[in-house]
């Protein structure tokens, strides 16, 4: 498909797009200008059937402008020229309505001028002008309109109006006390709510057990047949492929619950908060009958009937300790750190509890956090989990890569794994069969990359800690200063890899993009025809 280059200089070489929709780099930063269209280039947009769509970037001023068209007689402002023209008729002024020119059928999409916005990227452009205006206003504009019933704030007046109409008007209340604003959520909740189950149980004098017998209505017309579950509870035979968390039968969950309660105690005190937190936030907590349900559910989560729970907790506390920032609330201790092999085994075989040997760990070496005080969300004493260090000051991509190259060159002595005392500087003891990364990587000081990577993989041992889930993968380690967070000892034997230096060079001095990109994908894997946009 032909590439339509703008005559402006901004397009430069970046506007070239292959027919298959490889993405050119985004346009360079531009100061907001008063003109309507500042850059045009072609992109394949996911979901958009028209690959010839033209991308238009409007300035914030343009987007926020409400009444750009002003009547010269009475100074009344209008959003659209058409409206102004119609108004001018009233003044007996000459007016002219512009027809949409038939040749201007090119589809237009609009990007958001805010650089940090997701819609700044042309592949996330929005399809109509009103949409992008409303988006900009809603997302990046000041929220001037406030609903008086609830406390919701809106930046766009029509949104505020629309909300005020429905706020508090329709409310559905379940027997359990939960309120819903939408009928379908109400119905769905009601069907599964414990309150209903209890009510029907109460209605039948001889019922309530998890194995109901078919209950016949006294009214012969209505043949209600609750079919008894074909498989008795417990345990239904439900092979679960690939994950421990299948459908734990309630009976089993109960027994697991017994096992895991002591485990619960080991966990950080934040843990019991978790399911109630979820329920709390949801519009549908079931306050009354659910403590049992919640517990059952929660305990059921500790591995469906396997013994993974105990393992999960210890592994999870390990991870919690690994990745908590040093200012983490006291409940995330770093009491233990597993020997490395144990850790790997824990993750590979989550149903075998492992003994995690404590070792002396310097929490400080674990985290790179430079920001010691503020949690990401600004509220002190947050009882929820703390993650790996909050975002640090921004760094440009260039600087980051240069740093990566630089660090690759230097011998690192503060790698994550080393800090844990897991990786010895001598040849790896844990994994004698190092993963072979082609011919490049056999360095005597390596631990296996597998091991290093393995550390980054959060356990699947049934941990319930959110901080585990959040802390661990959030960084696979803190944002380490060293390149060696994967524990390779030295990332590249003494000199930056060609890749990085080439990158730096290219940023500085304009390597040919296409050639580099093409070359980089050697086997032409990144071939356009494979790329499909949904």
């Amino acid at each position: 498909m032909p590439v339509d280059l703008d005559n402006s200089s901004t397009a430069s070489g970046e506007a070239s797009v292959s027919s298959t929709g490889n993405q050119p780099p985004p346009p360079p930063q531009q100061p907001p200008s008063k003109s309507a269209a500042t850059a045009k280039k072609k992109r394949n947009l996911p979901g958009m059937p028209d690959p010839e769509a033209e991308v238009i970037a409007l300035s914030p001023k343009t987007l926020l402008a409400t009444n750009r068209f002003v009547c010269e007689i009475c100074n009344k402002g209008f959003q659209r020229d058409q409206n102004l023209q119609l108004h001018r008729r009233g003044h007996n002024l000459p007016w002219k309505l512009r027809q949409r020119s038939s040749k201007d059928v090119k589809k237009r999409v609009y990007v958001c001028p805010e650089p940090t916005c997701v819609h700044h990227d042309p592949s996330r452009a929005l399809g109509d002008l009103t949409g992008i205006k409303k988006h900009f206003c809603r997302k990046h504009g000041e929220k001037k309109w406030k609903c008086d019933k609830c406390s919701k704030k809106y930046a766009v007046q029509s949104d505020w109006k629309a909300h005020s109409k429905i706020c508090g008007t329709r409310e559905y209340k379940c027997d359990c006390g939960t309120l819903f604003s939408r009928r379908d959520s109400f119905i769905t909740h009601r069907a599964f709510c414990d309150a209903l189950a209890e009510e029907s149980a109460r209605a039948q004098p001889h019922t309530p057990n998890p194995n109901p017998k078919p209950i016949k209505e006294s009214d012969p017309k209505v043949q209600v047949e609750s079919s008894p579950p074909p498989a008795p509870l417990p345990p239904p035979v439900a092979p679960d492929f690939g994950s421990d968390q299948g459908q734990a039968p309630p009976g089993l969950a109960q027994s697991t619950g017994m096992i895991s309660s002591p485990v619960l105690a080991i966990q950080s005190p934040e843990l019991p908060d978790n399911p109630p937190q979820f329920i709390e936030e949801a519009p549908a907590p079931a306050p009354t009958p659910t403590p049992a349900t919640v517990t059952a559910g929660f305990n059921g989560s500790f591995g469906s009937g396997t013994s993974s729970s105990s393992n999960g907790s210890s592994t999870s506390s390990v991870f919690a300790s690994l990745f908590a920032s040093s200012t983490a609330s006291g409940n995330l201790q770093a009491p233990q750190s597993p020997a490395f092999t144990d850790l790997i085994h824990a993750m590979a075989h989550p149903d075998r509890p492992t003994d995690l040997a404590p070792s002396s760990i310097e929490p400080i070496s674990l985290c790179l956090s430079t920001n010691q005080g503020s949690s990401i969300f600004g509220t002190a004493g947050q009882e929820r989990r703390q993650y790996a260090p909050p975002p640090q000051p921004a760094m440009s991509a260039t600087a980051l890569l240069q740093k990566a190259a630089q660090m690759g060159a230097a011998a690192t002595n503060a790698s994550l794994l080393r800090g844990l005392g897991i990786v010895s500087s001598s040849s790896s003891s844990a994994q004698p069969d190092n993963m072979q990364w082609g011919q490049r990587q056999m360095e005597p000081e390596n631990s296996s990359v597998t091991a290093g990577l393995g550390l980054g993989l959060p356990c699947d041992g049934g941990s319930g800690l959110k901080e585990l889930m959040m802390g661990t993968p959030s960084v696979f380690g803190p944002k380490h200063a060293t390149l060696d967070f994967l524990g390779l000892g030295m990332a590249a034997g003494g000199s930056p890899s060609g890749g990085l230096s080439a990158l730096i060079t290219s940023i500085g001095g304009g390597l040919d993009v296409a050639a580099a990109a093409a070359a980089s994908f050697g086997g032409g894997e990144f071939s356009g025809k494979d790329m499909r946009r949904s």
Binding site: S200, Q223, P239, G242, A405, M435, G438, S527
Partner: protein, 452 residues
């Protein structure tokens, strides 16, 4: 969006030998960030992901690690949507990398992402967090209601991953039906694909609750579970390998889809409901012969043979099963940003609901990117391709009536304003987020002209 990178801004950087113009064909990072002066945006991140994948495929550990390091500094599970998405992608890549040497790691094909089991009431909230599921429920239920007009008995074969969350609203609608409530039977397979959302009770228990509800609404109701699982698999250790058991699961399911085993009755309107489920049936040819169709096609052929009243198919509108890893990464990255972006509009960065929802998507990402072969069970197919497949199987599409369209629109109006809907070719309803396709919904009947 452009993502702010983290790092120590005051470190002095010295360039290493900048004059090295690297002409090695594996000089991958060069192209990736050319032009990304400043901060990284979605396109750059995508390129980095691709470079990383390429490095892995070429066994270039150094480069892979370097790219991962860069990505690591971008990724954050509690950052903006791009950062969160990157985090899950990076995780999937690492997971993939670690499989290169399977000796130390005995990953049995399971995901590394732990995901807890939810109680039913929580699941009810989960499916309504964003209209992703409710859109399909609404459109399908409406189409079903229309199709069974005149019937007094209805039997639904329900293939889905959302544990019957679809049915309360249908039960409610049937109970209020002007021509009188029919009797309703719902049949589900005993096993489901091992993907989130996970429930902490069995299908039987779910059926029990539905029965209660139906009774409460005075609707005659029956719930059945097709017991087709290989019954010897009572513990994980007995499952000799995940791969073969997965195959066995679907094969055995197909074997159990017979009129007698399903107790199909002549006077019933039969409804086939496939909701986010067809994608788990393999789309690969099962044999070398031309007539060895894929499991997916075999399934469609089987259900067509039941002469159903209507077949409703809802799934995610994206092609994510290409053989090439790079294509999958690209397609995946440019599709799954949608739910991340949607969640951002109304849930805080530290919301546990949001995190759980996103981690379920992460589960999907991990499967798509770090697995191959039969373990890669997420074989998403776009609406257009699915429609073609249905036509090939001898179905014709049925349009959604005005009422349905209206219902879906009012549903979407109650959600965040970025959600929209469009009607595409072949009467396909598509849920859109800011104009981008997310979920499609279709309805089909057997071709009258086809002879079998």
């Amino acid at each position: 969006m452009k993502t702010e990178l983290r790092g120590n801004s005051n470190t002095s950087i010295s360039l290493q030998n900048p004059s090295t113009l690297f002409s090695n064909p594996q000089s991958s990072l060069s192209g990736a960030l050319n032009g990304c002066l400043g901060s990284l945006d979605g396109a750059c991140i995508e390129k980095l992901l691709l470079h990383c994948a390429s490095a892995l495929e070429h066994n270039d550990g150094t480069l892979a690690q370097q790219v991962m390091w860069v990505l690591n500094n971008v990724a954050s599970l509690v950052g903006d949507p791009n950062q969160r998405l990157t985090s899950w992608f990076l995780r999937a890549l690492i997971s993939r990398a670690s499989k290169v040497c399977p000796t130390a790691m005995n990953f049995d094909g399971g995901s590394t992402i732990w995901r807890r089991n939810m109680p039913v009431t929580e699941l009810a909230v989960y499916v309504d967090l964003i209209p992703w599921h409710r859109f399909g429920f609404c459109a399908s239920n409406s189409a079903i209601l229309k199709a069974i007009e005149g019937y007094s008995k209805v039997h639904i074969l329900d293939f889905s991953i959302t544990h019957c969350m679809q049915w309360p609203t249908l039960i409610d609608a049937l109970a209020k039906r002007a021509e009188g409530a029919p009797s309703l039977r719902i049949t589900v397979p005993s096993c489901r694909p091992p993907v989130p959302p996970f429930l902490n009770v069995s299908s039987e228990e779910v059926g029990l609750r539905l029965s209660n509800f139906a009774k409460f609404r005075d609707l005659p109701f029956e719930f059945n579970v097709i017991d087709h699982g290989p019954s010897s698999f009572t513990s994980r250790d007995q499952i000799m390998s995940k791969e073969s058991s997965r195959d066995l699961y679907f094969e055995s399911l197909l074997n159990h889809l017979t009129p007698s085993m399903l107790d199909l009755r002549d006077d019933e309107a039969l409804v086939i409901n496939c909701q986010n489920w067809l994608r788990y049936l393999s789309d690969e040819q099962r044999g070398s012969n031309v007539q060895d169709s894929s499991l997916r096609d075999a399934f469609l052929c089987t259900v067509k043979g039941f002469n159903p009243c209507i077949v409703v198919v809802v799934d995610e509108d994206s092609d994510l099963s290409a053989p090439s890893l790079s294509s999958r990464i690209t397609a995946c990255f440019n599709y799954l940003w949608i739910p991340f972006d949607a969640l951002e509009t109304f849930l805080l960065k530290d919301s546990s609901q949001r995190f759980e929802y996103e981690s379920d998507i992460g589960h999907k990402i991990e499967n798509i990117i770090s697995f191959e072969g039969v373990q890669r069970i997420e074989r998403l197919e776009s609406g257009i391709k699915l429609s073609q497949r249905m036509r090939n199987a001898g179905f014709s599409s049925v349009s959604f009536c005005e009422d349905t369209v209206g219902e879906v629109r009012s549903l979407l109006e109650e959600h965040a304003s970025g959600w929209g809907m469009k009607i595409e070719e072949d009467h396909m309803l598509v849920l859109t987020w800011k104009g981008h396709n997310s979920v499609f919904s279709t309805a089909w009947v057997r071709n009258a002209s086809m002879q079998d």
